[in-house]
Amino acid sequence: MDETPVLELRGITKQFPGILANDHIDFDLRDGEVHALLGENGAGKSTLMNIVYGLYSADDGEIAIKGKRVQLSSPHDAIDRGIGMVHQHFMLIPVMTVTENIVLATEPRTGGVLLDYSAARQRVLELSKRFNFAIDPDAKIQNITVGQQQRVEILKALYRNADILILDEPTAVLTPQEATELFAILKDLVAQGLSIIFISHKLNEVLDIADRITVLRRGKKVETIPREGATEEGLARSMVGREVLLRVDKTNARPGDKLLEVEDLRVLDDRELEVVRGVSFDVHGGEIVGIAGVDGNGQTELIDALAGLRKPAGGRILIGEKELTGASAHVRLEEGLGHIPEDRQRRGLVLDFSLAENIALHDYDKPPFSRWGWLNPRRVIERASRLLTEYDVRGGAPRTLAGALSGGNQQKVVLAREISRNPRVLIAAQPTRGLDVGAIEFVHKRLVAERDTGRAVLLVSLELDEILSLSDRILVLYEGQIVREFSPDVGEEELGIAMTGGRRGEAAA
């Protein structure tokens, strides 16, 4: 292997208003390695990579590619030097086809002016054959799964002959199966000569795939270590700067009254297909019920129906004694329902509002936040700043716009709002998606604490680990039906089999 690194960063510094996102960071990527970049939410990982990709300009520091100093002032420069990036939030155009997205800005032409779609399509097919991607070049992005979209992003980089590939939290949006497939692809890419930078919050993944690991904390580099000898606990400690509990500590549940009851619920999706097909369950105060399942088995529609964002096609929903099947989201909130939505950017936050305003979304119209129809901004801000400290939201004051926070910190704001309302029933959908280990520990502790004060918690998650370690009872959702119920000491394997429809129809355990 060549000794000069393919990419070398020296003293990279980037100041955002009010926060030093990158503070003299050194980093190097060797030829043919997978280098993982770890760090808490807001540690500056995405910022650093955006600098390498020419999207942000560094205030200080230098970048060298294959030993040569370069100036990367736009993505164009970066692409020219063989850098490709798959962003945390995908950069694909939903209404265009896979081929159009891939060739955009480097289109093959006929006669110098016309777009040669068939040649473009041919190249996409060749590339996907070479790297074993199963992808339909003529499908529209909006009609393919997130896993496939990610492959399109990777193909975009490969099409531009990238030999350095940056992946920003590629597995945050993938199902475990898709993640496994992604890793196979990445190993293949390395075998074909690419070097990869891989950002993730999932320590087991990092230990699985990385050759070396660099940890950032609050904009500074902590260390770069080889995978050999690294442990999850050790990595977690250097990320957060203290010991982190990777397992949840909890006592046995003491279930009380039935607080949430669902009877024979049926829900249609946007295409009017029935995707929740007669679901019945209940959640008592003082317990956490986990709903496990592979993505796309009706979770989203079930949550929407419970939260009042989608009208059920049949069945009943009761909170406490009260039937709320047809009630609006507002009424449900009044009745004590809390909802941590799956998609924080679309349903959890108004990105153009300040944090204080976001936190006050549910109760801005009640005293002490408003009186006689007048808002009391001082109270709104006071409360927000208390919650931001309590929930350890980094990089934001009450007046910061929600859109300026890093992904993980946005999630903490949603949690702060929903939990602080003291709901009787809390629905938590993917509550830790995109969170770092320290924040996950915090959220898990919070959810258990909520349970212990007697609230009913319904946890919907694609992460088996999370389901297993938090739930007091586990329900498996498969093709819109609850097919099994398990106690939390079930083996991961048995749960996995039930999630993919194995041994269906057997009596519940």
Binding site: P75, M91, I93, E107, V275, G296, E479
Partner: protein, 404 residues
């Protein structure tokens, strides 16, 4: 969804086709009462109309909801208009419904709208809403007259119009792209600016007596004399297409070119990418600002051409505010046509036809015909309300883009 057979909600083809048949029947209910058929028996329109309504209800219950409603509406309208027509004197009918001049006038009235709509398409496809089309058109109309008058040739008039429209669009581009101002506000300001500037210079240069009658005009060319030799339809074709203005033909050309550029070239792909998801375009190295500037300036030039057609192609003079909202109707045609060149053109033809019809109706029936001029607006409301399939604007249209 994980491995589940999708049950189709309706097997739609049959119902849909019946509905389309119903719509045609509804149109026919009206048409039989018009020349050249001119059925005078009062029972023809109701008969066909009821068949249309029946077809509509049938397909409505079979799941083809939208086309079904359309067939019913077509049936009712067909009956009403048909009965009216059977009661009108056939002399009046023959005068109003003279198809060849009607079609020819349709092209005349549709041309300014087409230019405006094509211009708006480039701008909006790149993500900039251009309400200022009206003003750019008006500016084009004035500077075309000024250029043709002072430089002595209609060709220079067109050049002046294009330059003036482009410059005005450049202001809109700068304000809405670089300064990231609200694009509606900027466009509205552009319209008032154009009104003021053209009004001022009009009085300053031409004073009370208006533009001279001797201005060099864009000729009606080519004269397609050979058309009349075509057997059977020749005379009709010659009357419709034989003597169209050069700028009308140029509009047809621009229509085809725009379609090819937007959907068949890399440039078009990039324009659409910038209008749908500017950040994604940015990350593959496309200059979002560059594309938007080019598209907005082009839109101003096209709108100005529409204005030039009005002043030195059609009327031969300039009047204050002579565009009278045609830029806005062009914008409506764009929305009606779902931001596609041929869709917008079809809408422009429809609007043009209703204007032409209103003009002809005006002769025998006077003011009541003015109601027909409201047709474009009614149709636009229907289109925007989503009756004819939803029209979906480019995702980023109207939103300023901020570079990091």
């Amino acid at each position: 969804m994980v491995a589940r057979a999708e049950t189709p909600r309706w097997t739609g083809l049959g119902a849909r086709q019946i509905a389309v048949g119903g719509i045609l029947l509804g149109c026919f209910a009206f048409l039989v009462a018009l020349p050249p058929i001119t059925a005078r028996a009062q029972w023809w329109p109701p008969l066909l109309g009821i068949l249309a309504i029946g077809a509509g209800i049938w397909s409505l219950t079979r799941g083809a909801r939208r086309p079904g409603w359309f067939a019913i509406a077509a049936g009712i309208l067909g009956v009403g208009l048909g009965i009216l027509a059977t009661q009108a004197s056939s002399g009046n009918l023959d005068y109003v419904v003279n198809w060849a001049p009607l079609f020819s006038a349709m092209f005349v009235f549709a041309t300014p709208l087409t230019y405006a709509a094509l211009g708006g398409m480039f701008s909006e496809r790149s993500g900039v809403v251009n309400i200022g089309l009206e003003g750019m058109m008006l500016t084009g109309a004035f500077f075309a007259v000024l250029g043709a008058d002072k430089l002595g040739n209609w060709f220079f008039g067109i050049v002046c119009a294009i330059i003036a429209g482009g410059l005005l669009a450049l202001i809109h581009a700068f304000v809405s792209i670089h300064l990231r101002a609200d694009q509606i506000v900027s466009g509205t300001a552009i319209n008032f600016l154009a009104l003021g500037v053209t009004g001022y210079f009009f009085y300053k240069v031409y004073g009370e007596q208006g533009t001279p009658g001797s201005i060099s005009q864009v000729p009606d060319r080519p004269r397609l004399g050979f058309l009349s030799h075509i057997p059977w339809a020749g005379h009709f074709l010659y009357e419709v297409f034989g003597t169209l203005n050069l700028l009308i033909w140029f509009a047809f050309l621009m229509l085809i070119v725009s379609h090819i550029v937007v959907f068949r070239t890399p440039i078009g792909l990039r324009i659409r990418a910038v209008g749908e998801h500017p950040r994604a375009a940015d990350t593959v190295g496309i200059s979002v600002y560059g594309v938007r500037y080019a598209a907005v300036v082009l839109s101003g030039m096209l709108a100005a051409l529409g204005g030039a057609y009005l002043s030195i192609g059609f009327v031969g003079s300039f009047n204050e505010n002579m565009t009278a909202g045609r830029g806005f109707i062009g914008l409506a045609a764009l929305i009606f046509g779902n931001w596609r060149p041929f869709g917008a053109f079809a809408a422009a033809l429809l609007f043009g036809f209703s204007t032409a019809l209103a003009f002809r109706l005006g002769q025998p029936w006077g003011n009541a015909a003015v109601l027909f001029q409201a047709l474009p607006y009614v149709l636009t409301l229907i289109a925007v309300a989503g009756v004819i399939g939803r029209s979906i604007p480019p995702a980023a249209s109207g939103r300023p883009y901020r570079k990091q």
